[in-house]
């Protein structure tokens, strides 16, 4: 019998503020332990929190981008639990009345369809510190630099039905957070973390019991962890067992999830409104002020790219995954005047080379201006697309501009028909057998002749000219 997977994600995005959510300490990553933990962050007796305005603005920004209601009045609550990385014995979070209410985001499925994922809420909260388990005479060391860093927890509806959808949602949200400047989305530094609620059911049945998988901090892990968890749950049910509601931790080394019983011990968080903080009021004017500074959103950009540059939905959605890629593409498209060509190159060679080198577009060594120069050489038939890829590789390696490389390596395409004719005449003369076969109807051999001619011209023959002449001569 068939099983249906049900997935909801809770994503913690660290907000791009300079100071902490309730104190004036720096949020910069990587400082010496406890040098960015002030009296408030340490939960010293007598200290009080004061809310960071930028954190509120960034939350509104994300809320507007997912078409959510922004609460005119929202409340901070204390989530009470003891843990060494939680200095006050409670985390300041939001429970009732979060700052961002019901919203949604559309994701692109592999088959090209669009699916709408509901977003239940997004709330502001403070991050915890870090426990370092290296051996300090058998003890754990606590670094509270991260304590009080602002987070936006974005909670989805259980709308995803397989791991790929979950990854698509997470990627899209990740891109959105970066697009908007809401956060840097740095997953290695933990600025973008995901917990997945996973359950299985028979299609159409009630939701099954869910397990929460903690700390999925890469796109690769989330897919693997969910698939693993689904298998685990199906195995349990099919062998007559029952899934237990619990928190599980994904171990990427072993590719398995394991129960975190320690967290189950006391999960009565005793939420109540934080008496040290007052309700946050957000007026329509506040919302409009944030809206006025919003960049073009990915979906709007995608629609515009499709309309303005006649791109396919697929090309446009790839190009709008990040603001930097979109900007790069637009510069190239406008510079070379051929959007399709620009899209093919940005989604093709550029993306591929970035991925091979595990680099981000921000660090791309071939500037949009340099790429434009290269694409112009394709357009004016100086080089073929194929040769251009070699030129691009050389440009990536810092060997110079497109023109300089073409010149230096003698890659200029041969468009002189007499030179191409001479090459073809020689091939026809040297391969009488194949010529005869071709002429007797074996069309497939055309490719053989193209290949021979290209090889003879060291790839520099203009492919269109070569094709035309070859056809004439063979049929001649």
């Amino acid at each position: 019998m068939e099983w249906e997977t049900v997935i909801g994600l809770e994503i913690h995005a660290q907000l791009a503020t300079n100071s902490k959510i309730f104190s004036g300490s720096s949020t910069a990553y990587g400082a010496e332990p406890n040098t960015q933990a002030n009296l408030v962050d340490l939960g010293m007796p007598g200290v009080l929190p004061v809310l960071n305005k930028k954190a509120v603005e960034l939350a509104i920004r994300l809320g507007l981008a997912i078409d959510a209601e922004i609460a005119p009045r929202s409340i901070f609550a204390r989530k009470n639990y003891f843990y060494p990385d939680s200095p006050k014995g409670y985390q300041i979070s939001q429970y009732e009345l979060p700052i961002v209410g019901l919203g949604h985001m559309d994701i692109q499925l592999e088959n090209g369809d669009t699916k709408r994922i509901g977003i239940t809420r997004a709330h502001l909260e403070e991050d915890a510190g870090k426990s370092l388990h290296e051996d300090f005479q058998g003890q754990t060391g606590i670094d509270l630099n991260r304590a009080g860093t602002p987070l936006l927890e974005i909670v989805s509806e259980p709308d995803m039905r397989n791991a790929k959808e979950a990854v698509a949602y997470m990627k899209k949200l990740h891109a959105l957070v970066r697009y908007l400047g809401v956060g840097d989305g740095n997953m290695q530094e933990g600025s973008f973390r995901c917990d997945a609620n996973v359950s299985v059911r028979r299609p159409g049945a009630e939701f099954g019991t869910r397990a929460e998988i903690k700390n999925l901090n890469s796109f690769k892990f989330i897919e693997r962890a969910i698939n693993h968890e689904v298998e685990r749950q199906i195995d349990i049910i099919e062998s007559g067992g029952k899934v237990v509601q619990e928190t599980r931790l994904y171990d990427p080394d072993k590719d398995e999830t394991r129960s975190m019983r320690s967290k189950e011990d006391a999960n009565d968080y005793r939420y109540f409104p934080d008496p040290d903080l007052l309700p946050v009021e957000i007026t329509p004017a506040d919302i409009e002020a944030v809206r006025a500074t919003m960049p073009e959103l990915p979906d709007a950009k995608k629609q515009r790219f499709m309309a303005e540059y006649a791109l396919t939905a697929y090309d446009a959605s790839l190009l709008t995954l990040s603001r930097e890629v979109a900007d790069y593409f637009e510069a190239v498209a406008q510079g070379c005047g051929d959007a399709k060509l620009a899209a093919n190159w940005v989604n093709g060679e550029v993306s591929k080379t970035l991925a091979d080198n595990e680099m981000e577009i921000a660090a791309v060594p071939v500037s949009s201006a340099a790429l434009i120069e290269l694409l112009k050489r394709i357009q004016d038939n100086t080089v073929s697309n194929k040769i251009a890829r070699d030129v691009f590789a050389a440009m990536w390696n810092g060997e110079g501009s497109a023109d300089a490389i073409i010149d230096k390596k003698g890659l200029k395409q041969i468009t002189d028909t007499s030179a191409i004719e001479a090459v073809i005449d020689e091939i026809i003369a040297n391969n009488p057998g194949q010529v005869a076969e071709y002429r007797s109807g074996k069309d497939k051999l055309f490719g053989f002749f193209v290949g021979q001619a290209m090889r003879a011209s060291k790839g520099k023959a203009n492919p269109n000219t070569l094709n035309d002449i070859l056809k004439q001569k063979l049929e001649g």
């Binding site: 933990a37 002030n38 003890q139 060391g141 903080l277």
Partner: protein, 95 residues
């Protein structure tokens, strides 16, 4: 309302207080007395009354996003029971 010894134990665990067994009865009695006092509230009709979390109807003031702090680690850690290499130490935490 009376609270049972088992409930007192549970609450003490939540609050991280190691109540010794020989004190449990006294605590249970005292807490029950307090709950009895508090139970008067259940008879009050509060239909439609908005809960009051703060004495004044004020809204939260917001702070500009400016880093105002420098490190005072040594001073702050001078009151700590146990530190090493700038870290606060606790018995090994198992996840």
């Amino acid at each position: 309302m009376a609270i049972s010894e088992a409930e007192v134990k549970k609450v003490a665990r939540l609050a991280r207080l190691a109540v010794p067994d020989d004190r449990l009865e006294a605590y249970t009695q005292n807490l029950s007395n307090i709950l009895n006092l508090v139970d008067q509230l259940s008879a009050v009709d509060t239909t439609g009354v908005e809960p009051m979390a703060h004495p004044l109807d004020m809204m939260q003031r917001l702070r500009e996003d400016v880093v105002t702090e420098t490190s005072h680690r040594e001073k702050y850690q001078s009151v700590a029971p146990e530190v090493e290499d700038g870290l606060y130490l606790v018995p090994k935490v198992l996840e």
